[in-house]
């Protein structure tokens, strides 16, 4: 496009510009203004950063408000996990338990935090909304073994989350009222 090229002639520097002094003074002004401005440093361990919604931190297991563990050990997360960080040993819920109608719960649930890539696929795939990537983003330990989290630690980290569906509770109630859907 030779027609569209606009050639701008470079002007020779004026005497003041040749001494560099006005430029240096304006540069000093800029840095001085910067010096007086509010600092952007966040003093990290004392002041934690705001965690945006949808943040994918450490994967945790959660309980519903009734204190029931939501995982039913369907192992979908174990299959979907790209780095194969999750290992589930399925187990049955004993007969006498109030949650016996759920039938299954993990006997052991391990996430290797050193393998986890925080992709959030386990959370996405979970039909029971039992695994969540929560806000915790600092993990450290003195050995590799220490960073393989077992079920207790995962529940401890996850805590209880609000449940919107109460799927199993409703199912049990409807069964008791005789209009079983399933």
């Amino acid at each position: 496009m030779p027609g569209k090229v606009k050639e701008i002639e470079r002007k020779p520097l004026s005497l003041a510009e040749k001494t560099f002094l006005p430029q240096i003074v304006s540069g000093l002004k800029v840095t001085c203004a910067n010096m007086l401005r509010k600092k952007v440093t966040r003093e990290y361990p004392d002041v934690l950063p705001p965690i945006p919604p949808g943040y994918r931190g450490m994967p945790t297991l959660v309980k519903d408000p009734d204190g029931r563990e939501k995982c039913v050990s369907c192992q979908l997360c174990e299959f979907v996990c790209p780095p194969k960080a999750i290992r589930i040993t399925p187990g049955a819920i004993p007969e006498g338990s109030p949650d016996a109608h759920v039938e299954k719960a993990p006997q052991e649930f391990e996430i290797d935090m050193l393998r986890c890539i925080y992709c959030g696929m386990c959370q996405e795939v979970c039909p029971e909304e039992a695994i969540f990537l929560q806000n915790k983003f600092t993990l450290n330990g003195l050995s590799r073994q220490e960073l393989v989290f077992n079920k207790e630690r995962l529940y401890e980290a996850g805590g209880t989350l609000q449940d919107q569906h109460f799927k199993w509770k409703k199912k049990k109630e409807s069964e008791e009222h005789g209009n079983a859907q399933h």
Partner: protein, 367 residues
């Protein structure tokens, strides 16, 4: 020989070295702190010493100011392993840091750091050696300062330090001329005909009781300042260690305390250079231009004026830091062009101008 006099002077010299070395340490912290401020950061503010740091108010204040960082940095240099690379020239490799540290410290003896008003109203400049060639002593020793850099660069036997050493020596040669020529007009102005003060710095300070040279001779001051930046190897003239193209320049192969000595000597150089600029152009220990000195009689006045001198010097050291984090480094050919094609002709023209001016004004003023 008067041994007591000698002991007092030696004591003063030692005190001077202690003051300058601790100021050098503080300047390192100040550099890191102001660098942080300019870049929107806070700078070092976490390092603390267990018991001192937990003193209610001051411990926290000092921690936040980063002053404990000074101790941390220093002891880090001390406790690191002294590695001597296998390919260096051992003798010169070990000699270089020593050669680098001594030249900035020797000129201290001829710097008048304060003034004392005696009971009968006479004013004495406080100076260790009030010789009439004070300025020459400073120039002589500051010109020896480059050998530390050059030796370090050569002894390291490695290409980047070598380049740093070559650059340092070339830059030194180029800017020493400008520096010398920008000092002359000041002495021409201060020495009335018939004066026997010669090149004494104390005389310059006495002369500046009413008017400072920074506004009597702004161009001279500017030339001297630029040459001072170049001589102290500070940004934007830090060609010898320009870390972007020469890794670390002349001290690439140095580590631990030897590097620490280079580091401290650079800051000592900056402090002595700032002090010299204050003495020559900013009135030394005099209070403010066109105001009488408010220093009381005797020791308190001496201490106050010394503190005032240190305050002025610190302000100029701050200016050094401010410039460093503002300007990008010059390219090497730009440094040479600036030195030989701009500063040197301007310095000569300035000298001639001042000479003509004095030759025409002095007879008028003398009447």
């Amino acid at each position: 020989m008067d041994w007591i006099q000698l002991a007092i002077e030696a004591g003063f010299g030692l005190a001077f070295i202690i003051v300058v070395m601790s100021m050098a340490g503080l300047t390192v912290v100040a550099e890191r702190k102001f660098c942080g401020f300019i870049q929107g950061r806070l700078g070092p503010n976490r390092t603390t010493i267990p018991i001192l740091g937990s003193i209610p108010f001051f411990g926290r204040l000092i921690t936040r100011m980063g002053l404990f960082q000074l101790v941390a940095d220093g002891s880090k240099f001390l406790f690191k392993e002294e590695i001597v690379p296998g390919h260096v020239n051992k003798f010169y490799y070990n000699l270089a840091p020593i050669v680098a540290l001594i030249p900035p410290l020797v000129p201290l003896v001829v710097l008048p750091f304060g003034q004392m008003t005696l009971a009968d109203g006479t004013i004495r400049q406080l100076i260790i050696a009030n010789v009439d060639i004070g300025m020459l002593v400073i120039l002589a020793f500051s010109s020896l300062g480059v050998y530390g850099t050059v030796l370090a660069g050569w002894a390291a036997n490695s290409k980047y330090p070598f380049m740093g050493g070559i650059r340092a020596s070339a830059q030194m040669i180029s800017y020493e001329l400008t520096m010398g020529l920008s000092i002359l007009p000041v002495f021409l102005w201060a020495n009335v005909p018939g004066s026997t003060e010669g090149l004494s710095i104390a005389n310059i300070v006495v002369f500046q009781q009413t008017h400072w040279f920074v506004y009597l001779q702004p161009l001279t001051a500017l030339l001297f300042l630029v040459a001072l930046f170049a001589e102290t190897n500070r940004a934007p003239f830090d060609m010898a260690e320009s870390e972007t193209d020469l890794v670390g320049g002349f001290h690439t192969e140095y580590g631990a305390f030897k590097f620490g000595i280079f580091f401290v000597s650079e800051y000592a150089h900056v402090i002595v250079g700032s002090g010299l600029f204050v003495l020559l152009f900013l009135g030394g220990s005099n209070f403010l231009p066109m105001l009488p000195n408010p220093w009381p009689v005797g020791i308190p006045g001496a201490i106050l004026s010394t503190l005032w001198f240190i305050a002025k010097t610190s302000a100029l050291v701050f200016f050094f830091i401010w410039i460093r984090w503002t300007l990008p480094r010059f390219r090497y050919d730009q440094v040479m062009n600036l030195g030989w094609k701009m500063l040197l002709p301007v310095a000569i023209a300035n000298l001639v101008f001042v000479m003509v001016l004095l030759a025409t004004i002095t007879p008028v003023a003398a009447q």
